[in-house]
C-alpha cells in the first residue's frame, strides 16, 4: 500500500508517495529528478549508488525509501554550494580522477564520508574507505591522489 513519505535530501524536504518496494535510488532518480546518483549492479556490489545517510555511506540500490524517514540524506547534487563545487569535486577534476564519470558521484560521496571522519587519511586509509566503489576507467590512482589533495580536509 502506497504511503506518503517526507524525505530530507540535501537540506530540503521532499514529499513523495511510495510503495514499500521502492528503493531509494529509484525514488531519487525517477520521482525527484536527482539523477546524479547512478545505478550500476543493483545489488550493493559496485558502490555507484552511494549516498550519505546521517553522514554514513549507504547503498541506495538496496535501501528501501520508507526506511529513510527522518534521516538526513546527502546526494552528489548536495555537494555544491551556491554554484560553487565542493573542494572534493574540485580536487577530482583537478587531479584527473574523472573519466567516464559514472562511478564519480558514488566515489565522491564515499570520499566525503571518509574526510568528514579523517581529514588527512593515508593512502591505505583512502583505499580502504573506497573499497566499496568500483571504477572501470581510472585504475584508482588518480582518485586516491584526488582525495589526498583535497584542500582543507574537505571542509568548505
Amino acid at each position: 500500500m502506497k504511503q506518503a513519505l517526507e524525505l530530507n535530501i540535501n537540506g530540503l524536504t521532499y514529499d513523495v508517495v511510495v510503495s514499500p518496494r521502492e528503493i531509494l535510488a529509484d525514488v531519487l532518480r525517477e520521482k525527484l529528478g536527482l539523477i546524479g546518483t547512478k545505478k550500476g549492479c543493483g545489488q550493493g556490489d559496485c558502490g555507484t549508488c552511494t549516498v550519505l545517510i546521517d553522514g554514513r555511506p549507504y547503498l541506495s540500490c538496496i535501501t528501501l525509501a520508507l526506511s529513510c524517514k527522518g534521516k538526513e540524506i546527502l546526494t552528489i547534487e548536495g555537494m555544491e554550494k551556491d554554484g560553487e563545487l565542493h573542494p572534493i569535486q574540485k580536487s577530482y577534476i583537478k587531479n584527473g580522477a574523472v573519466q567516464c564519470g559514472f562511478c564519480t558521484p558514488g566515489m565522491i560521496m564515499s570520499s566525503k564520508a571518509l574526510l568528514d571522519e579523517n581529514p588527512k587519511p593515508t593512502e591505505m586509509e583512502i583505499r580502504r574507505a573506497l573499497e566499496g566503489n568500483l571504477c572501470r576507467c581510472t585504475g584508482y590512482t588518480k582518485i586516491v591522489e584526488a582525495v589526498q589533495n583535497v584542500k582543507q580536509g574537505g571542509k568548505e
Binding site: M1, R21, R56, P57, L59, T63, L66, S67, R128, G132
Partner: protein, 290 residues
C-alpha cells in the same frame, strides 16, 4: 531488478515486533541493514508478505559492557560500530577484526550483527569470533524469552533455530578470560566484497606458560560453525610450542569438511585451515598482555 510487493512496518519497541511476528509468523521477515535480505529479495529468493524494520528500535543497537560480567550487543548494532567500539577492540579483538573485514565500507555502515548471524552463511565473519567468546543468542517472542548458544543456533547453511514468531534481540558474550587474547583471520581472493573460503578465530587464556582455556572456531569449511575440539584438547594445559601448534593445526584441518566450489577446492581449503590455525593461534597468544 525489482523487489516483490510487501507490506512494511517500522515498530518502535521490541514488544511491537513480538506482536507483529505473533500475527504474521513466517510470512514476515525482519529487516535490519538489508544487505542480505534486500539483495535476496531482488533475486526472488525470499518473497515475504511483511517486512518488519527494526532499525528504529534504539534498545536493539546498543553495546553494553558490564565489567566482570561480559558484554551484551543489540542485534541491530551496525557492523561498523562493532568494528570501532573501544570495548570490543580491547576485550573481544577477534570480533572487532571479523567485523572489520565484512563487505565494504558501505556494507559495514548498513549491516548488523543480527543480520550477519541470522543469515547463517557459513562464511559469516562475525560468527567464528562470537563462537570463541561463548556467545549466546537472546531470542524473544510474545511467548517469552530464551537463549541458545550461537554454535547450536545455526543449524545449517541459511537455517537458524528461530521459530516463525521469534526474533533475536541481542547477543551475550562472556567476560573475557583473565590473561587471554583473541585473533581472527580469513582467506579470500579479494580485500573487499569477498566471501571468504576459510576463516578462523581463536580465544586463548594462559596460566603461566601453559594454556589454561582455549576455543577455536572455523568457518566456510562446514555448513555450521565448527569448533576445533580435537585441537583444543591437544593444547589445553600444555605449553604452546611450535611443534604442538603444528599438530593442533593439522587436527583442525582434518576436522574440517569443506566443499569444492567456485571460490576454492576442498583440498585447498583443508590446507588453508592448517595455515590459518597456526597463524591465528600464534597471533592470539602474542596479543595476551603480559
Amino acid at each position: 531488478m525489482h523487489l516483490p510487493q510487501f507490506q512494511y512496518s517500522a515498530p518502535k519497541t521490541s514488544d511491537e515486533v513480538e506482536a507483529l511476528l505473533a500475527e504474521q509468523k513466517d510470512k514476515a521477515k525482519i529487516l535490519a541493514g538489508g544487505t542480505d535480505l534486500i539483495v535476496q529479495m531482488k533475486e526472488k529468493a525470499h518473497r515475504p508478505e511483511f517486512i518488519i524494520d527494526i532499525t528504529g528500535i534504539e534498545s536493539l543497537s546498543k553495546i553494553n559492557y558490564d565489567n566482570g560480567k561480559g558484554c551484551t550487543i543489540g542485534s541491530a548494532t551496525k557492523i561498523e560500530n562493532i568494528e570501532k567500539t573501544d570495548v570490543i577492540k580491547e576485550k573481544y579483538a577477534a570480533l572487532s577484526k571479523g567485523a572489520s573485514v565484512i563487505g565494504s565500507t558501505q556494507i559495514r555502515a548498513m549491516a548488523t550483527i543480527g543480520g550477519n548471524t541470522c543469515n547463517a552463511s557459513p562464511c559469516a565473519d562475525t560468527v567464528s569470533p562470537l563462537v570463541v567468546f561463548g556467545a549466546k543468542v537472546n531470542i524473544t517472542s510474545k511467548n517469552g524469552k530464551r537463549d541458545v548458544l550461537l554454535e547450536k543456533f545455526i543449524k545449517n547453511n541459511g537455517v537458524t533455530d528461530l521459530n516463525p514468531d521469534e526474533f533475536v534481540e541481542s547477543f551475550t558474550l562472556e567476560e573475557p578470560w583473565p590473561n587471554s587474547g583473541s585473533a581472527y583471520e580469513y582467506m579470500g581472493l579479494r580485500n573487499a566484497m569477498e566471501i571468504d573460503m576459510v576463516n578462523f578465530a581463536a580465544n586463548i587464556a594462559m596460566d603461566g606458560d601453559k594454556i589454561k582455556d582455549i576455543r577455536l572456531a572455523m568457518g566456510s569449511v562446514s555448513p555450521v560453525p565448527l569448533r576445533g575440539t580435537k585441537a583444543e584438547e591437544m593444547l589445553k594445559g600444555q605449553v604452546p610450542t611450535d611443534e604442538l601448534i603444528e599438530k593442533a593445526a593439522k587436527a583442525c584441518s582434518d576436522a574440517s569438511i569443506p566443499i569444492d566450489d567456485i571460490r576454492a577446492s576442498a583440498d585447498y581449503r583443508r590446507e588453508i585451515v592448517g595455515v590459518l590455525a597456526k597463524r591465528v593461534i600464534k597471533k592470539a597468544l602474542a596479543s595476551i598482555k603480559k
